[in-house]
């Protein structure tokens, strides 16, 4: 093997920066899953009966479901009885009244992660809901947002303060019958973020949820629900990290978006869960269901994801294009390195007339990583003049990784126009040498080449996060090339 290839491979090796554990006393349920566990969680949150019942129905349904096997990822069977379904930092005798009263250790954790929550040092222009294990520890800028009628709070609070909205929309996009992990989530979800943008309001700042798994042996099951009423618009970002642990931890979330007439939701994810070590020990199983419903005319939903972490990433942020003239977009960068696996993509379901969708997927495989794009474009009979454009590009770094593409296209209306383009390229030693010969060292060259490859996706991210994503990509691939 030439030294160039060795360098490529050594470049992907880089320590995970967010692997620390916060030493905080936490209160966890013992591992195990039964109706009792669910009733316990529901009681802990003081939930209304309708929600407890919904959870139980979901659980009973889940028990009858077979585990899916069609995905192109491999993992040992998950023992659902060996997971703790509820873990929260031990609350003070008096629950904190404001963020500045939250346990300093927790605030410190978020500061270390670059998400300061304290009043003085908050991120300008970004409201954050911080989720730590099973609970929300605080939400910034709530009052400012409330002045515009925007609701942004933890899911648990929303259940109590805005029950009508929650009842109306919970499960309306992803019913608990949808799939195995969505059913599990519906039964055991603990917290998450809730957001409602009223009619005609453009949300004046980025909204963001930051997920952190801390406790060992626990899973994180959160639910996010975002509703944009007629003519409303919002840009939302989620970030995720976890400590380095030898065991695999399950993160099975559900995200539901509802966009009414001419509403616009832009949902961006920068996923950096602990990916496991170079031999594939540990890391998060990121099994998530994300779906947006373009319910109204001219509604517009954009998913942008940068997936660099997790041992396994398995998700398909999708759009159901029901409203006439509605629009769905999916922009994705998925990176696998070392032993990471990803099976990700999207579903665009065209139901309404004149609906359009765009898919741009960039898969990067390094180390012994396996990266699959799986996407469905479905044009139903009712979808006159529907249009789709898909572009799936894969890049291979080194000789031991894999890239796979599974496109599914179902067209039931002859007026549809569907285009699919795909390419696979290998990061060339030639490209790297060309950069070297211009004075640019190998690591910088790889970053430059990979960032160039992902450019179309990064330009969809909010400015500050685009810069973050580029850096993250550099870190994820450090040690991968030559």
């Amino acid at each position: 093997m030439s030294t160039a290839t060795e360098t490529i491979e050594s470049l992907v090796k880089q320590e995970y920066k967010y692997g620390f554990v916060t030493d905080v006393e936490s209160e966890s349920t013992p591992p195990g899953l039964s109706e009792e566990t669910i009733r316990f969680i529901s009681a802990k949150k003081n939930e209304p009966t309708w929600l407890t019942d919904w959870r139980i129905k979901a659980f009973r349904y889940w028990q009858k479901m077979p585990e899916p096997t069609w995905q192109f990822v491999k993992y040992p069977p998950i023992d659902f009885q060996d997971i703790s379904y509820f873990s929260q930092p031990k609350p003070n005798a008096n629950a904190p009244k404001s963020l500045d009263e939250v346990d300093p250790k927790l605030l410190e954790t978020y500061e270390k992660l670059g998400i300061p929550l304290r009043e003085r040092s908050r991120l300008a222009g970004v409201a954050v809901d911080a989720i730590f294990d099973s609970v929300s520890v605080g939400t910034t800028y709530r009052e400012e947002l409330a002045k515009k009628g925007i609701i942004f709070c933890s899911f648990s609070e929303a259940v109590h303060q805005h029950p009508d909205l929650v009842k109306k929309y919970l499960g309306s996009v992803v019913p608990y019958t949808d799939n195995y992990y969505a059913a599990l989530n519906s039964a055991v979800f603990t917290d998450g973020s809730f957001c409602y943008i009223p009619k005609g309001v453009r949300c004046p700042m980025e909204l963001s949820t930051y997920f952190r798994i801390n406790a060992a042996k626990s899973g994180q099951f959160e639910r996010t629900l975002i509703v944009a009423d007629d003519g409303a618009s919002v840009s939302y970002l989620e970030g995720c990290t976890a400590p380095m642990r030898d065991e695999n931890q399950l993160h099975a979330a559900v995200v539901e978006l509802v966009a009414l007439d001419h509403a616009q939701i832009k949902y961006s994810t920068v996923q950096n869960w602990y990916p496991g070590d170079e031999n594939g020990v540990g890391g998060i199983y990121n099994f998530v269901t994300k779906r947006g419903l373009c319910k109204g005319k001219g509604a517009h939903i954009t998913w942008t994801q940068v997936e660099t972490g997790s041992a396994i990433t398995w998700k398909y942020p999708s759009c159901v294009l029901l409203g006439e003239g509605s629009k769905g977009e999916f922009y994705s960068v998925a990176v696998v390195n070392n032993m990471q696996q990803a099976d990700t993509g999207t579903k665009m379901i065209h139901i309404g007339k004149n609906t359009t969708s765009t898919i741009v997927s960039k898969g990067i495989s390094a180390g012994r990583g396996q990266n699959s794009y799986r996407g469905l474009v479905e044009i139903r009979k009712s979808a006159e003049n529907a249009r789709n454009f898909s572009q799936c590009d894969s890049m291979l770094i080194g000789a031991k990784c894999g890239a796979h593409t599974f496109p599914y296209i179902e067209v039931k209306n002859t007026t549809a126009s569907v285009e699919h383009e795909a390419s696979t390229s290998k990061i060339g030693e030639d490209q790297i040498f060309y950069c070297n010969a211009r004075g640019i060292e190998t690591q910088d060259a790889v970053n430059m080449i990979v960032n160039g490859f992902c450019k179309e996706v990064f330009k969809e991210l909010p400015m500050e996060f685009a810069v973050e994503a580029q850096k993250l990509l550099g870190v994820s691939l450090e040690g991968s090339v030559g």
């Binding site: 070297n436 430059m448 160039g452 490859f453």
Partner: protein, 252 residues
């Protein structure tokens, strides 16, 4: 004042995986000189260029290469570039999504950093680039595109010379820059190269055909065969080669 040697290659033997390609190659290039290296395909011209630029996969078994008195072969390719060595590639690669201006600015700033100079910001760099564009009579549109992506063969070669103009190397190696160029492109590329000639730098022009040397006038012409120089002379040697062919020279 005696001329300063920039490159001194002495009895260089090198090859790939048990195949010897260079067999006792020697050449000295001084400041202010333009050397043409000619030879048939397979004579080892491009191997020499690759070894000088530091491409992986070649093994040097004997001999030495000095660059400004230092052992060139000890340096990584990026260090050679920062020290002023420039290779105009025979087949420049495409780097999709990486803006040409951004790429070239990164390259220039690496060189500047290496010499303890302040890095240029975007505006300073653009001003510099605009001057060079005019010098070479290139289309500014080139700067907005990704590195070599979708460029025609001629555009790629011109872009290489443009990079050379911006980076101002001490030693420029042009590896068959004329191949695949029509006569107009050849003229543009050659006039660019001629304009970049300076008393403190040197050029090594590698070519298969004499026609490039109608536009770039070399001080020395070397004919290479089987891994070493078999004949050296002035520019008239190129004409002799054109008239009588390689056969005659190699036999003679």
């Amino acid at each position: 004042m005696s001329k300063q040697p920039i490159l001194e290659i002495n009895n260089l033997h090198a090859g790939v995986e048990n195949k010897k390609i260079l067999k006792g190659f020697s050449l000295t290039i001084n400041a202010g000189e333009v050397h043409a290296l000619m030879g048939l395909n397979g004579s080892g011209k491009s191997t020499l260029a690759a070894i000088l630029a530091g491409r992986d996969g070649y093994e040097v078994t004997e001999g030495s290469v000095k660059y400004f008195g230092k052992d060139l072969l000890e340096l990584d390719p990026e260090e050679r570039a920062r020290e002023g060595l420039f290779l105009a590639f025979q087949y420049p690669v495409e780097i999709p999504g990486v803006n040409s201006t951004y790429f070239l600015k990164a390259a220039l700033n690496e060189i500047r950093k290496h010499h303890g100079l302040q890095e240029l910001d975007a505006i300073e760099f653009l001003n510099l680039v605009k001057d060079k564009i005019k010098l070479l009579d290139l289309n500014e549109d080139l700067l907005k595109r990704s590195v070599n992506e979708g460029f025609s063969g001629g555009e790629k070669k011109r872009a290489e010379i443009f990079q050379m103009a911006v980076l101002e190397p001490k030693l420029a190696i042009l590896d068959e820059t004329d191949s695949g160029l029509d006569i107009d492109a050849l003229k543009i590329v050659s006039s660019g190269v001629n304009k970049l000639k300076r008393p403190d730098s040197a050029q090594l022009v590698i070519t298969h055909y004499q026609r490039l040397l109608n536009y770039i006038i070399p001080d020395f012409v070397h004919v290479m065969a089987d891994g070493r120089i078999v004949k050296s002379g002035g520019k008239e040697l190129a004409l002799e080669l054109e008239a009588n062919g390689y056969e005659a020279i190699l036999k003679g």
